[in-house]
Amino acid sequence: MIGRLALRLAVAAVLLFLLAPLVVVVVASFSDGPVMAFPPASYTTRWYAAISDEFWQAAWRSSVLATVSMVVAVVVGTPAGITLARGEFRGKAAISAFCLSPLMVPALVLAVASYQLSVVMFDLTGTTYAGSFGGLVLGHIALTIPFVIRAVIVGHTHLDASLEEAARGLGAGPFQTLRLVTLPQLGPSILSGGVFAFAASFEDLPISLFLGGGDAPTLPVQIYSTVEFNLGADLMAISSVIIAASFAVLFILERVVGVEKVINAGKGAH
């Protein structure tokens, strides 16, 4: 009885701790005053109307970037993950560590390294990828692929190998087995990897700072450079929009597959 009460209190405290900043941001975005005040004296929605076009463009750019990165990460990372999970070949551990290394090093290191590589490339060839949307996509793919690879490897360790054998025995070739049995089993893992890949790309600041073009910032870069000059209520408004969008995505995922399943993808897919 006491134990359960204590547990509930602990959960409530954690939730409060996690959600309080979000609540402050959302409430502040409706504050009708010249400076940020919490709690606000009166309420308004005018900050939402005041969100500048630059923000909307940056948000759109980031969404496209994250979507492209996620799709490429899933398309490349899924077969890579399956190969790494199942293959018996020399250097497997080393290749595996290499593929997952972006998860281990800070994004800042990845960003500096990508930028340096682009400088070397410019010196050698006179052209390079940094400063363009294409370069940004390349950098974000390097950032996001490991999320998919990791999710697929983890999901694969929970697969029942006899399912694939059963499929083969029943007459399915290797490719049919992959398509009809393995991939459907890995579905939640791949989805999970994709969601994390999207989030990693969408929120990335360092790589976008180093590789992105100055005239076409991503949303985090845009927010970052705005914050340098003022911490206005329109910033609270755009932040609230992101929070709302994130909750919408979570809600849809919950409805379609169940958030828990995505987060622990593969642990017990059924």
């Binding site: 029942d160 006899s162 399912l163 054998e165 059963a166 499929a167 083969r168 025995g169 029943l170 007459g171 399915a172 070739g173 049919q176 009809l180 049995v181 459907p184 089993q185 579905g187 897919a269 059924h270």
Partner: protein, 375 residues
């Protein structure tokens, strides 16, 4: 024509040999069981037939076709796994239809055959369910339907019933036998449960250390085991040490038991080998073939240590003069000796079996009690 032939099949993992030259011919429509202790190579053999393991040596023929180097999906076998291996994201009907789908069987015919197969395993109404919504027994029926619906040349089952409780196991044994006979499908079944092997099979291959020790009909295996290992593995068996004193014909031996009170024993019938006078042998008798009383042939006196009730009969556990453990089985309803009493027991000469004296027989009687009930 759907014979399955294994010719000199071996499989080594590094320095350990899992299978060491197995020859086995399963004829059209025959039900053969690979029976043996854990680790003797049963699964390895079966998986080599299915194509999941490549043999280190030897060849495999299915329906007259050499499939040794063929991928599993080209072999036309139906496999049933111990833990069902049903596709969790597909319904029962989709699971059963899987093999037809990848064979590009038309929708109408596939539908008809799936319905027929589900009917055959008595799950006609369960097509729309998912595997997670079924009991263990039902899942294994689905797995069976999925394996037979493709009308494979050979049906392969690896301990399909070992995850089920004993009543369900017996029920499904009958189902498997009924379906196998009805379809006349060539079948290789793997189990370490001897009663299952005896119940189901046309022939049983007893495996030991990667080799087939004996392959015979269940009755022949039980009545005339080829080695003391088989004698011990299939059913219970009493073993006593003896020396051959005379051999009056090919099938007639006179023996003297070793021990403090040397008894003379007679054995009559075909034996596992030819023995010469002076040779040490292991004398073996089935517990349930015992005869009681001072008039019994090949008589011994045992001191009764324990009487266990087995339902239709009693298992009497005791010791012979030399201290050798002895088991006898008596029908319920007759007189049951009390613990501590002495019992005169004997066996007909026809029921006395002789085996080469080797290490196997040493702990033989002790080992016998670890085995399950004979069929």
């Amino acid at each position: 024509m759907s014979r399955v032939e294994l010719n000199g099949i071996s499989k080594s993992y590094g320095t350990t040999a899992a299978v060491r030259g197995v020859d086995l011919a399963v004829s059209d429509g025959e039900f053969v069981t690979l029976l043996g202790a854990s680790g003797c190579g049963k699964t390895t053999c079966l998986r080599m037939v299915a194509g999941f393991i490549a043999p280190s040596a030897g060849s495999i023929l299915i329906g007259g076709r050499d499939v040794t180097r063929l991928a599993p999906n080209r072999r036309d076998t139906g496999m049933v796994f111990q833990h069902y291996a049903l596709f969790p994201h597909m319904t029962v009907a989709e699971n059963v239809a899987f093999g037809l789908k990848v064979r590009r069987v038309g929708a109408a015919e596939a539908h008809r055959r799936v319905a027929g197969a589900l009917e055959l395993v008595r799950l006609g109404d369960y097509g729309g369910r998912f595997p997670a919504q079924l009991s263990g027994g039902q899942r294994q029926r689905v797995a069976l339907a999925r394996a037979i619906v493709i009308e494979p040349t050979a049906l392969l089952l690896d301990e399909p019933l070992s995850a089920l409780d004993s009543r369900l196991r017996e029920e499904l044994q009958l189902e498997i036998k009924r379906i196998q006979q009805g379809l006349g499908i060539t079948t290789i079944f793997v189990t370490h449960d001897q009663s299952e092997a005896l119940t189901l099979s046309d022939r049983v291959a007893v495996m030991r250390d990667g080799l087939i020790e004996q392959i015979d009909s269940p009755a022949a295996l039980y009545r005339r085991p080829a080695t003391s290992y088989v004698a011990r593995f299939v059913g219970r068996m009493n073993f006593l040490d003896a020396v051959v004193t005379a051999r009056s014909s090919q099938e007639q031996y006179e023996l003297r038991l070793e021990g403090p009170d040397p008894q003379v024993f007679h054995a009559l019938g075909r034996q596992s080998a030819a023995f010469v006078p002076g040779e040490r042998v292991a004398v073996a008798m089935r517990p349930e073939l015992v005869q009681l009383g001072s008039e019994a042939p090949n008589r011994l006196r045992m001191s009764v240590e324990k009487a266990a009730f087995l339902g239709s009969r009693w298992l009497i556990h005791g010791r012979a003069g030399g201290g050798t453990a002895i088991f006898v089985e008596l029908p319920d309803g007759g007189p049951i000796p009390s613990v501590g009493s002495a019992l005169d027991i004997g066996w007909r000469a026809e029921d006395v079996l002789l085996f080469r004296h080797d290490d196997d027989t040493r702990s033989a009687s002790a080992g016998a009690i670890l085995q399950g009930e004979p069929a």
